[in-house]
């Protein structure tokens, strides 16, 4: 995409070109582009894995793979989608947009930024390499414990677990470096006059994400390190025989794992209101209320972890505490939903692709949020837990709430980043196909869960057949519709109608004051905010 940028500004011709440009770049836009491209590729890798699973689950009986391979696919699918698709996409936008939105020339720590990115491809390789090694008879394939690494199963597991642990370490370091960079940039590089309470919501969302990452990624790193020493160096952190407890791993893991959900969602909660205000042609409602709500959610995120394993057994006071604190998350979220809809209310709305995605996102993420509220109920959770109900719930929050949000952001900023308009027709088609097939995939899974189908099983009883078949067919439609997305992005990067500087009639914010695409070095002269 940014090749065009260089062509426009030959004063930067001294920059290395070709592969060296991308290996050594410290430019926030180049790095952002790399993050986004990487994320898109990994989205398809993770997607291909889940389509393998949905093909297997198309009807009862084993069709394509044995249970061992099935278990590997589910875990690696999740790790790739979370760590290699969703998080890098959010980081990509952070790199591209935070300097533009706060009027900074670049990110504060450009070299760190480059390292942060280049840790990702090796970790993606580490995650998937055991699949290939197994073909040559080395080891028994990738991580087969699900993405949660629960011991003792993960202590029992093969080399796939070690590879995944190292991959998680690298991904963790990359995220922490990225977060440090975001915090320093936001604190030190804002344009004169841009106070914290004048920052665009996306910057706020990312700032809280960055703090959550710094607080929780090291806990994950610690937990998987303990797992590694339990596996190879004779420690017994998670082994009752040596005085440990397997359930402690779940506490450590979800102390990271629950904030991780908000790490994935906070950036989206940041730019969705910006999209809404743009296409409603009026400023967002309740800016302060939204900022406080984001902080509220960030704070609650680290105190509710144990609701992921109510069935592991806990004293009643602990159950009650985690139930009520989990329910409390709905309070700031209710405020956010109210503000989003109030932003649209009595606006002058038009429905270009980003707006379609944003509106669809509110509805679908709403379903994810509300099912989360019922999941908080301990007694009912005994039924929902580890059933397909949970699978459907977290895909409403992470596919609809996460990935469809990222898609909204992509269409919103793509003209700014490339300087060309994407095809509105294809974009709208992509939205409708995605939204419909997404619901067709996951609504049946709610019913499967209620009927009693556990997750992570390679084969199932006959009573679950119909819903699984619908879900599988819809999943393939969902997967194939994403090709439209790629086609639209690639053709937009290559050419098309020129985008204006402002791109959208109602666009607000500093990034829209720059040319489309922005020059290689944005804001050589810092703007002043009144």
């Amino acid at each position: 995409m940014s090749t065009t940028t260089v062509a426009h500004h030959d004063d930067h011709a001294e920059h290395p070109t070709g592969i060296m440009r991308w290996l050594t770049t410290t430019n926030h836009k180049d790095i952002g582009t790399m993050y986004l491209t990487f994320s898109l590729i990994m989205f398809f890798v993770g997607g291909a894995m889940i389509l393998g699973i949905r093909a297997e689950l198309f009807k009862p009986g084993l069709q394509l793979m044995n249970p061992e391979f099935f278990n590997q696919l589910i875990g690696v699918h999740a790790l790739i989608m979370i760590f290699a698709a969703l998080m890098p996409a959010a980081t990509g936008f952070a790199n591209w947009m935070i300097p533009l939105q706060i009027g900074a020339p670049d990110m504060a720590l450009p070299r760190l930024n480059n390292w942060g990115f280049w840790l990702l491809p090796p970790s993606a390789i580490l995650l998937t390499l055991p699949f290939t090694l197994a073909l040559f008879g080395i080891g028994d394939g990738a991580l087969a414990t699900g993405w949660t690494f629960y011991p003792p199963l993960s202590v029992q597991g093969g080399i796939g677990v070690d590879f995944a642990i190292f991959a998680v370490h690298l991904l963790g370091i990359s995220s922490v470096l990225g977060s440090i960079n975001v915090i320093v940039t936001v604190f030190n590089m804002r344009a004169p006059g841009m106070t914290l309470m004048k920052m665009p919501m996306f910057v706020w969302g990312w700032l809280i994400t960055a703090f959550l990452l710094i607080a929780t990624i090291p806990v994950l790193a610690g937990a998987v390190t303990m797992l590694l020493t339990d596996r190879h160096f004779g420690t017994h952190f998670f082994d009752a025989a040596g005085g440990g407890d397997p359930i402690m791993f779940q506490h450590l893991f979800w102390f990271f794992g629950h904030p991780e959900v908000y790490i994935l969602l906070l950036p989206v909660w940041g730019f969705i209101p910006q999209i809404l205000e743009t296409f409603s042609r009026k400023p967002m409602y309740g800016y302060k209320a939204q900022v406080y709500s984001l902080w509220g959610i960030g704070a609650l995120a680290v105190v509710v972890w144990a609701h992921h394993f109510f069935t592991a057994g806990m004293p009643v006071p602990a159950l009650l505490y985690f139930m009520y604190s989990t329910m409390a998350i709905s309070l700031p979220l209710a405020v956010l939903f109210f503000c989003w809809i109030k932003t649209m209310w009595r606006g002058s709305m038009s429905f270009e692709t980003p707006m379609l995605f944003a509106v669809g996102w509110i509805i679908l993420f709403g379903i994810g949020g509300l099912t989360g509220l019922v999941l908080a109920d301990v007694a009912a959770d005994a039924q929902y837990h580890n059933s397909y109900f949970v699978v459907a719930h977290f895909h409403y929050t992470l596919f609809a709430g996460g990935i469809m949000g990222i898609m909204a952001g992509t269409y919103y900023w793509l003209p700014k980043m490339t300087g060309h308009m994407y095809s509105e027709k294809l974009g709208k088609l992509h939205f409708w196909l995605t939204a419909i097939s997404f619901n067709m995939t996951f609504i049946p899974q709610f019913f499967l869960g209620l009927a009693g189908m556990p997750r992570r099983i390679p084969d199932y009883a006959l009573q679950f057949a119909e819903f699984n078949m619908i879900s599988s067919i819809a999943a393939f439609t969902l997967g194939l519709s994403q090709l439209l997305f790629v086609y639209n992005i690639v053709s937009c990067a290559r050419g098309g109608k020129k985008a204006t500087d402002k791109v959208w009639e109602g666009a607000q914010g500093l990034e829209w004051t720059l040319p489309s695409p922005p020059p290689y070095h944005s804001f050589t002269e810092q703007p002043v905010i009144k």
């Binding site: 370490h169 990624i217 090291p218 040596g242």
Partner: protein
């Protein structure tokens, strides 16, 4: 990761030019400010990492206080303070598991006992080594409901230390315990289970 952070911190400290603040250009001032903040954030990262490892002992403390995981304290309790509460009865049930790799039979001699809180009782567990080698085992206790874990006090238990049995040897292992009178009033039944594992080094 700690190492990485440390090296990284070193690299940052290695700033050769030392200029008086007033002589710095705006860019250098910003760099300095950035580095200061980065260093603070790195301490935050290190802090979180330490916190992760501190959670291990914290978890144990929390568990022994609240019975979070049903683990009992593996150390002798003092019997002196216990006052017998004759007004109520508590039933303690016993069960056992032998974990893979341990060539023993192991079972409680009596499956349950009824007693008053504060009353000191001794129960026996029977273990027999059915291999022709000396085998060392470690018993791991667990109690349900969790709330009872903190209230079952052991004065003497075979689970405090590893047990070694000669080939074919059979041993009656005593457990001397009482139920604390502080046991919540609504708990009338509890179960104590021992899982016998092949002994491992107690490193943690």
């Amino acid at each position: 990761m700690v190492c990485g952070v440390y090296v990284f911190n070193m690299a940052l400290n290695e700033e050769p030019k030392v200029k008086a603040p007033e002589n710095l250009t705006a860019k250098e001032q910003l760099d300095l400010k950035n580095k200061k903040l980065v260093r603070k954030l790195l301490w935050l990262v290190v802090g979180s990492l330490l916190f992760a490892f501190a959670l291990v002992p914290l978890y144990d403390v929390l568990c022994s206080l609240t019975g979070l995981n049903g683990k009992t304290q593996n150390s002798a309790a003092l019997a002196a303070k216990a006052k017998v509460d004759n007004s109520r009865w508590v039933t303690v049930q016993f069960t056992s598991s032998v974990m893979p790799g341990l060539g023993w039979n192991f079972y409680p001699k009596q499956t349950s006992i009824r007693l008053h809180p504060g009353q000191i009782e001794t129960v026996l567990f029977v273990a027999k080594n059915i291999t022709n080698e000396v085998v060392v085992g470690q018993a791991v206790p667990s109690i349900t409901p969790g709330i009872a874990a903190a209230n079952l006090k052991k004065i003497e238990c075979f689970c405090f230390v590893r047990q070694s049995l000669k080939p074919g040897e059979e041993k009656e292992m005593p457990l001397r315990f009482f139920v604390s009178p502080e046991l919540p009033k609504d708990v009338s039944d509890m179960t104590l289970s021992y899982s016998f594992f092949p002994a491992v080094s107690q490193s943690k």
